[in-house]
Symmetry: C2
Subunit: 209 residues, 2 copies
């Protein structure tokens, strides 16, 4: 379970403030998650998420004290950009990044919960579709939705996916699922906190791509 252990997220403080530096470090281990899907078809997704991370990191690096937490980034960008905000800067990058994180979270949770297509117990298409429907579909126009449906056929089977998550080490399925549960604790809290922040700050947009 090397992959997910490498990227354990930090617990949140009582204030729910998310330290930008720690967040960026944890999240930088996630793009390889899309390599676990096993096909180069997913390369554009990985590139999109990497782009989000790079953009947030650039803002942070420009002034690590000023942008110490994700909350501060949104507050400062809101006052800097005026009416352009929130479709701008690190605020926009994090808006999309959180959707990719939510996708990963729901997919892993669904696997951990043992949700399966009884007709095809070794496929994870239904788990991927659930995650997509809840995290991304409503932000995608019909063409991208169609592309998603086509790309879904490139998804690996369940056992190969779990193996890839374990970086090809021989790990029993139950051990792998237990690690996923472990990983999901802080990860889910973090993703929830980001969503809550966007809601409180009125920073969420629902335009389609």
């Amino acid at each position: 379970m090397a992959l997910l252990l490498d990227q354990q997220f930090a617990p949140l403080p009582d204030t729910n403030e998310i330290a930008t530096k720690t967040f960026l470090e944890s999240v930088s281990h996630l793009p390889p998650f899309f390599d676990c899907l096993g096909s180069k078809v997913f390369a554009p997704i990985k590139a999109d998420i990497n782009g989000n991370i790079t953009k947030i990191k650039a803002v942070y690096d420009s002034d690590p004290v000023k942008y110490e937490t994700l909350q501060q980034i949104l507050l400062i960008e809101k006052s800097t950009y005026g009416s352009e905000w929130p479709k701008v800067g690190a605020t926009l990058a994090l808006m999309w990044l959180k959707r990719g994180l939510r996708f990963i979270q729901i997919l892993l949770q669904s696997l951990a919960d043992g949700e399966r297509d009884e007709q095809n117990p070794n496929l994870i298409r239904m788990n991927i579709t659930k995650a997509y429907d809840q995290a991304l579909k409503k932000y995608h126009g019909w063409i991208v939705q169609k592309v998603f449906k086509a790309a879904l056929f490139a998804a690996p089977c369940r056992s190969d996916f779990l193996k890839a998550l374990s970086k090809d080490q021989e790990v029993a399925e139950e051990d792998c699922l237990a690690k996923i549960c472990q990983f999901l604790i802080n990860f889910t809290t973090t993703v929830d906190a980001i969503y809550e922040m966007y809601s409180i700050m009125n920073a969420e947009l629902d335009y389609l791509v």
Copy 2:
């Protein structure tokens, strides 16, 4: 017709040798071609082609004298890489790049020839499909082919595409088509010469992505 004029390719010498530097300069104007298709759906294609160009440029820049022509690149890489070749280095990058160039060439030629779907005269789907079928389809597995079919719906209508090629200047359609014909002369010769080189050098591969 700014876009295509900017990127006129140089005529070839009698030897058909292609100067790497000139080629890289001309070809660097092409990725924006995919912006003319008008949708961010095509961003991964542009990125792939940009990646090919970057890879070839890096090899060239490492020793501009040694890699003065595209032919020299293939010859030197063949002797450097042994059995790994041709699925390696700038040879691989140019193998894929030429397919994208062929796609563009066939699409523009088809428009210049006035080929149309009589049912939908203002769509260019049939022209794009023709170019795809001849230049790329056989190198794509069924999933990528399905993605192509979905992405096709994001293609612009004929008039918008011609306008985009002219960088939104008001240009009469016949003038635009005349410029395309003009552009195609050296472009086609160059693409043909690259294909011939791959054939002569036995450097073409037909694995699927």
